[in-house]
Symmetry: C2
Subunit: 137 residues, 2 copies
Amino acid sequence: MNFKKTYSISELSQEFDVTTRSIRFYEDQSLLTPGRRGQTRIYTSQDRVRLKLILRGKRLGFSLAEIRELFSLWDETTSGSEKQLSLLLIKISEKRAELEQQIKDIAMVQLELDSAESRCRDALNELTTKQKQQQTE
Amino acid sequence: MNFKKTYSISELSQEFDVTTRSIRFYEDQSLLTPGRRGQTRIYTSQDRVRLKLILRGKRLGFSLAEIRELFSLWDETTSGSEKQLSLLLIKISEKRAELEQQIKDIAMVQLELDSAESRCRDALNELTTKQKQQQTE
DNA sequence: ATTCATCTTTACGTTTACGTAAACTTCCTT
DNA sequence: AAGGAAGTTTACGTAAACGTAAAGATGAAT
């Protein structure tokens, strides 16, 4: 079902709502490495997953450089030396810490939104009850 | 205890590890409006809270424009008309949706980190067991 | 009185992440 | 054969978020 095998750049562009410019730019930054048929880029479902990961990273506010680092974290787990691997574990836990900070931040902002919403509802209530009073007077 | 009342720009700069340039830039973008004694900026604990909120927003990948929008969301809850307030409720729920998407994204990335970490540990294990074999041979 | 430390404004420079336009190829259709 | 749709490279432009001097004001300490 999900094995269409290959995608054109415009297909991916539409599916994920990004411009082809962006997709090519990500390739320029070595975040994607699609194959070619002649000049034309051909994206495998692996490439598609990569793109999905890129966009996910962006939604979290990561720069393309950081996303590239995350990718190499992943890739090097198969090929690293002992020092490399130890370093990787450190980097991984650093990323984890970032994410946990983000979770805390989100929780705080959610609280602020809660507060803003109830203030907003209160203000609305006051306005509409005043209107009713004016109507009956 | 926490009521030092006022802060200099460098105090805030050090406390939150941002440059004074950034702090002044945030003011330029109307995200901060400190008082003045002569030419010198004086920050109240309210301003300090604002700065904290700005940096929190940045950690979540929000642009300064979005952060400004969040602030005005908050501020307008006291002064808005009925239409304003209804619009605010919509915007608030939009922000909420963004945050929930971020939470999902974070969960996914955490899973990927889990996976990367165990791959990493496996690889390390193999390396060290091979070393032991070599030692005993 | 001068030397600092800290503050200020002004302004040009830089990086990131694309937007946008120009000019060209390829393939398909009419 | 001619046109159009979708792809390509090249390259200049741009908005955001600061960095980085330069040049001066202010207040405290020597």
